[in-house]
């Protein structure tokens, strides 16, 4: 990663950081946890701008929404009561089995949703809740829907002189959520990540959403399959069977040296059904 590294800066404010990025442009990378950078094979970086001390490490309520600073570590995320309560524990469940204890002390929320691998865990929760990224550059800010950003790899939607400052998680009151990381061991990469959120009223799915990660090259929503249940009765087992069976054809799969597509196709509907039932139980 660092064959050509020449400069390291640790600014004290966001403004300083943005000014540095603006000056250095194409050869600069933002350093937060650094876990993706340290194992990257990209040797273009000449300048690192460390953003751990510019105030992006807070979790707070913004009206009814939850605002999570991009430099909040996964460990900090897990300790936070607002996170634990969010969407029936969905976010906490997704963060719980990321990597290992020492790595969770380094990996940041921002890193896990921007510098993503196919098996990254948090993106599923952002898709389900229709979260947005807050992005800043010198002189301006923008807010982008994560569902839009994931049409390609997030890094491709963020300019060289921009920093993701935080993530806005919309109010999910009334929803229950469930997440599973299916892997050989807790430290292993996910073979499949699946998340479900549902809002139930009068024993019907007022809303229901599915998202998966580690199946294909990017985290994806399964809108067609979820639509089969929306508006329907929660005890319509036939409809649930149809929807989870459809997930296998709707999902984009890719070859993975750790697990075959055939295996993923076997377990996806089983796990998806379990999660649907879990959200019904918790409602």
């Amino acid at each position: 990663m660092f064959k050509n590294l020449k400069e390291y800066f640790k600014p004290n404010t966001l403004k300083e950081a943005l000014t540095l990025l603006d000056e250095k442009r194409s050869s600069v990378k933002v350093l937060a946890g650094g876990t993706a950078l340290m194992v990257s094979r990209n040797n273009e970086v000449k300048t690192l701008v460390d953003i751990k001390k510019i105030g992006l490490d807070k979790i707070e309520k913004d009206g009814k929404n939850l605002k999570i600073g991009a430099a909040v570590t996964i460990s900090q995320t897990l300790k936070n009561p607002l996170i634990q309560k969010y969407c029936g524990g969905l976010l906490h469940q997704a963060a719980y089995f990321i990597a290992s204890t020492p790595l969770r002390n380094m990996i940041t929320f921002g890193g896990n949703v921007v510098s993503i691998y196919p098996w990254s865990d948090l993106p599923v929760t952002l898709l389900l809740s229709d979260a947005s990224l807050n992005i800043a550059q010198k002189g301006k800010t923008r807010e982008v829907s994560y569902r839009d950003i994931l049409k390609k790899h997030p890094m491709q939607s963020i300019a060289d002189n921009e920093i993701v400052t935080g993530i806005t998680m919309p109010d999910m009151t009334g929803y229950s959520g469930a997440f599973i990381k299916y892997s050989k061991t807790s430290f292993d990469f996910a073979m499949l990540d699946i998340g479900v959120v549902s809002k139930i009223k009068n024993s019907k799915f007022e809303d229901i959403q599915f998202a998966v990660s580690a199946a294909g090259p990017l985290p994806q929503m399964l809108n067609e399959s979820a639509a089969m249940l929306k508006g329907g009765k929660v005890n319509d087992d036939g409809a649930i069977e149809k929807a989870v069976k459809n997930s296998v054809t709707e999902t984009k799969f890719m070859n993975d040296k750790r697990v075959s597509i055939d295996y993923k196709k076997e377990i996806l509907p089983v796990l998806l059904k379990r999660l649907i039932m879990k959200t019904i139980e918790e409602n």
């Binding site: 660092f2 064959k3 590294l5 020449k6 400069e7 390291y8 640790k10 350093l31 650094g34 876990t35 340290m38 194992v39 690192l48 460390d50 751990k52 460990s75 990597a99 290992s100 204890t101 020492p102 790595l103 002390n105 380094m106 807790s186 430290f187």
Partner: protein
Amino acid sequence: MEIKLKINNENKTFDVGIKDKLVDVLRKHGYKGVKKGCYQGDCGACTVLVDGLPKNSCMILAVSADGSEIMTIEGMGDMDKLHPLQESIIETAGVQCGYCTPGFLLSSYALLKSNPDPSMDEIKRATDGNLCRCTGYVKKLEAVELAAKKMRGEK
């Protein structure tokens, strides 16, 4: 570039290259208990405490650690005075080749600081980043339970 670290309660100033990893800087300056295993954040042999938190020192650029407090196994105890964790892992026979052990003990040390009476599940979780190829983990985990008992004054 010059960096200042407080290692095992001693103030140190090192001259480091911009590309140097913390594990290499520590080892260069005599902290050989910090081991290089996978060198990519997957095994935990290089685990040290940075401002009290276990982290993989092979995944940290030394320049970014400037100003931190670091604890290595050398700061936990020595042959004249073993820490209860070190004593316990000998008693339970939780050491074979010993390569994973410094990192494992440091992760355990951090756990017991914040949770003096952990369950076995909590011990497993706290050490989930410290892989061991020799022992099968059981004796190592029992050592942490035993050490916690000693530190609570129950043994």
